[in-house]
């Protein structure tokens, strides 16, 4: 499963699709996931706070393709923080739609008091609950996690969702999580750090 998809499932309730995380952090965490996917595929890299495109061939995934096109099309914007803020505005919808296309979630419109809200409800509970369960198991094992798993864990911690994933885990899992993020490859480590900064800045600004 893709990085942003796993983050989406962890950040939402696995039975009714309700958000567990406030919208600002959800958007930024997902934006971090989308950029992270492009870094893992080798399309872009992050250094000194700047995103740089290194491979312009289209990625297989449609959403990753769209994001890469945006990065190429607006090369005057390179700051990671700018891209995180920009992608965060639409990430919940675009990643929700991607999971709906993949048959993991079902788009549901709720009409309440003249406002229509969209939620994405799990089709199969086990599929929706799997990322959190799997990552918890990863943290319980002593061998180091794969890079994609470590990235999801890093983004989860950056968005302030650690306790949602580790609610039943022991102190060793917490300790291990603290070691995983510093061990990430440099571009991913920086991406996670900028996501954490952006989430904190959103809290300080006080505007949800």
């Amino acid at each position: 499963m893709l990085i942003a998809d796993e983050f989406f499932l962890i950040a939402h309730n696995d039975t009714r699709g309700k958000a567990k995380l406030h919208p600002a952090a959800t958007g930024l965490g997902l934006a971090g996931g989308l950029l992270g996917e492009l870094i893992l595929y080798g399309h872009v890299t992050v250094a000194s706070g700047q995103v740089t495109v290194i491979d312009r061939r289209p990625p297989a995934d449609a959403l990753a393709h769209t994001v890469l096109d945006q990065l190429i099309g607006e090369a005057q914007h390179q700051s990671v923080r700018t891209w995180l803020s920009f992608l965060a505005q639409t990430a919940a919808t675009s990643v929700g739609e991607r999971l709906a296309r993949a048959g993991v979630l079902r788009r549901q419109e709720n009409r309440r008091l003249l406002r229509t809200t969209v939620t994405y409800q799990p089709i199969d509970l086990n599929v929706a609950a799997w990322p959190a369960t799997r990552l918890r198991a990863v943290l319980e094992r002593s061998d180091p996690p794969s890079v994609p798993d470590a990235l999801v864990l890093g983004l989860v911690a950056a968005a302030g969702l650690t306790r949602e994933v580790l609610w039943s885990a022991g102190p060793r899992a917490h300790h291990r999580l603290n070691l995983i993020i510093p061990a990430l490859p440099a571009p991913l480590k920086e991406l996670v750090a900028h996501t954490e900064s952006a989430v904190g800045a959103a809290v300080l600004r006080g505007i949800p």
């Binding site: 406030h22 700047q50 495109v53 700018t82 920009f86 949602e164 440099a186 900064s197 809290v203 006080g206």
Partner: protein, 508 residues
């Protein structure tokens, strides 16, 4: 950063990000609603006349406004170049070093907490007429304070920042009521003629002038928040400076006019005595006599909402300060965590609430006077703390520009902050001399030394803590002053230094 902001080509990214950006009016509304004008006019100014006994309060507002406008010239210029721009200690860190920054952060925590907790002392007085009229009940002040405390605590945890539109509407209503009150007072001068004695320098340069100046600073607290939006505003070079100057000017005019019109209506010779006996009720009693009961009722209701809004705003300010320090790991990391569902800085908010509860209980059990000893003492002490921070920041601004060699006009980097620093230092010296007047205690009371001494002690301890961090936890030391941005600082060099490398850019 700013080099990418202006581009001829249509940009989806710029457009999408600009949509939520604030203009000058929005920033002014944000600043003024935190300043809670009716709380200051009805609560601080009346108590100030009564306690300090100096007529020159209107002139003090104008003098302080001039100093703060000078200070703001350098302040907004540095804000554009500073992460965590809403916090004075961020400026001190970059200008005067990290230990000084931690010292300032300690001072800030005490000052903002004092300002917030002090407001619990006046909510009883503010609610009394409203509750009496609505339900015919007259509860103890601490019952009202505890209800307000619970409300603030819950809203803080749920992160219900009151809707901006509601705050803006309340603010407009408050200012309208203040102006109507002022006109009523000016239309009914004592002795039949309008007296300008309150603006006379003879009534300003008297023993107690330092106390009056601290009181005036207290009225302006909140103006520093405008720079929080340095990066979120439509035009960082124009929006925030404009909003800051206009906020200071509006506050100055409203407060000077109101404090002067009170002296006109009561009479310059009797204002001190009347304010001493009627306290917070003074302007409402005047309004009742001049304007009738409808305007009076509206005014009393708005005073209550104004105090509540100020409480919530200061609670959130304090909680965010604590959160930023937790993010840097200068305070325990738990303060840097948020509630996942709401994004509220949970532990920080709870800590502030616990402090508020302790103080309310302490005052209730000992039977201390809520308006004078809680509201006025803690309020003015908090104002004094903010004064110390502004003065330190003014020096830090000069040091920062001197060391970094950043391009800036001589006026903004040296002259304006220099004059402001000298003036603020003079105010501090006068304030310390007059602290007994400020508190309304005997000149030999130990309290006149204890209250002002809290800050240098805290600054010293904070500085020592900073030095200890340098030795024991260099990672944390490197993050000091960066607030939420500290997370990114440990992996990358600060992104605002040096030009952006362009060689790796993709070609179209």
């Amino acid at each position: 950063m700013s080099s990418t902001a202006t581009t001829e080509r249509q940009s989806n990214v710029s457009e999408a990000l600009a949509r939520g950006r604030l203009g000058v009016p929005s920033v002014i509304f944000f600043v003024l609603s935190a300043a809670a004008p009716l709380t200051v006019v009805a609560g601080v100014v009346t108590t100030g006349y009564g306690v300090i006994g100096v007529l020159g309060i209107p002139l003090a507002f104008l003098a302080v406004a001039a100093v703060l406008a000078l200070f703001s010239a350098g302040y907004v210029a540095m804000a554009r170049r500073t992460a965590n721009a809403g916090a004075f200690y961020a400026y001190v860190t970059r200008g005067l070093g990290r230990p000084a920054g931690v010292g300032t952060a300690w001072v800030a925590l005490i000052a903002y907490n004092a300002l917030q907790v002090g407001l619990y002392g006046t909510i009883g007085a503010a609610a009394e007429p409203v509750l009496d009229r609505l339900f015919g009940i007259q509860p103890q002040w601490w019952v009202v304070a505890l209800v307000a405390w619970a409300l603030v605590g819950v809203l803080g945890l749920l992160r219900v920042d009151i809707n901006g539109m509601v705050l803006a509407a309340l603010l407009c209503a408050e200012i309208a009521v203040i102006v109507v009150f002022d006109l009523g007072q000016l239309g009914n001068p004592a002795g039949g003629s309008v007296s300008f004695a309150a603006f006379s320098p003879d009534n300003f340069f008297v023993p107690g002038v330092g106390a009056v100046l601290v009181l005036a600073i207290l009225g302006f607290v909140g103006f520093e928040a405008s720079v929080v939006f340095s990066e979120e505003s439509k035009d960082p070079k124009r929006t925030v400076p404009m909003a800051t100057y206009l906020s200071v000017a509006i506050i100055a005019v409203v407060y000077a006019l109101s404090s002067w019109s009170m002296t006109v209506a009561v009479g310059p010779d009797r204002i001190v005595e009347e304010a001493g006996t009627q306290s917070v009720g003074l302007i409402f009693n005047l309004a009742g006599a001049h304007l009738g009961s409808t305007v009076l009722t509206i005014g009393e209701a708005l005073f209550l909402t104004s105090v509540l809004a100020a409480m919530i705003s200061f609670h959130n300010t304090t909680a965010r300060y604590t959160f930023a320090l937790g993010r840097e790991r200068v305070l325990p990391a738990v303060f840097g965590r948020t509630s996942p569902a709401t994004g509220a800085p949970q532990a920080a908010s709870l800590a502030q609430s616990v402090l508020g509860l302790l103080v309310i209980v302490l005052y209730a059990v000992n039977g201390w006077d809520p308006v004078l000893q809680l509201f006025f003492w803690l309020g003015t002490s908090g104002g004094f703390g903010v004064l110390l921070m502004i003065a330190t920041t003014a020096v830090a601004i000069i040091a920062y520009f001197a060391r970094s060699g950043e391009q800036e006009t001589l006026w903004r980097r040296l002259i304006a902050p220099g004059i402001a620093a000298i003036a603020l230092t003079a105010i501090i010296v006068l304030a310390v001399q007059n602290f007994a007047n400020l508190l309304g205690v005997e000149p030999d009371s130990p309290l006149r030394w204890i209250f002002p001494a809290v800050y240098p002690v805290a600054a010293l301890l904070g500085g020592l803590w900073g030095v200890m961090l340098r030795r024991n936890r260099p990672d944390t030391y490197a993050r000091i002053g960066l607030g939420a941005e500290s997370a990114a600082a440990i992996v990358a060099a600060p992104s605002d230094s040096g030009p952006v490398p362009t060689s790796a850019e993709v070609r179209r």
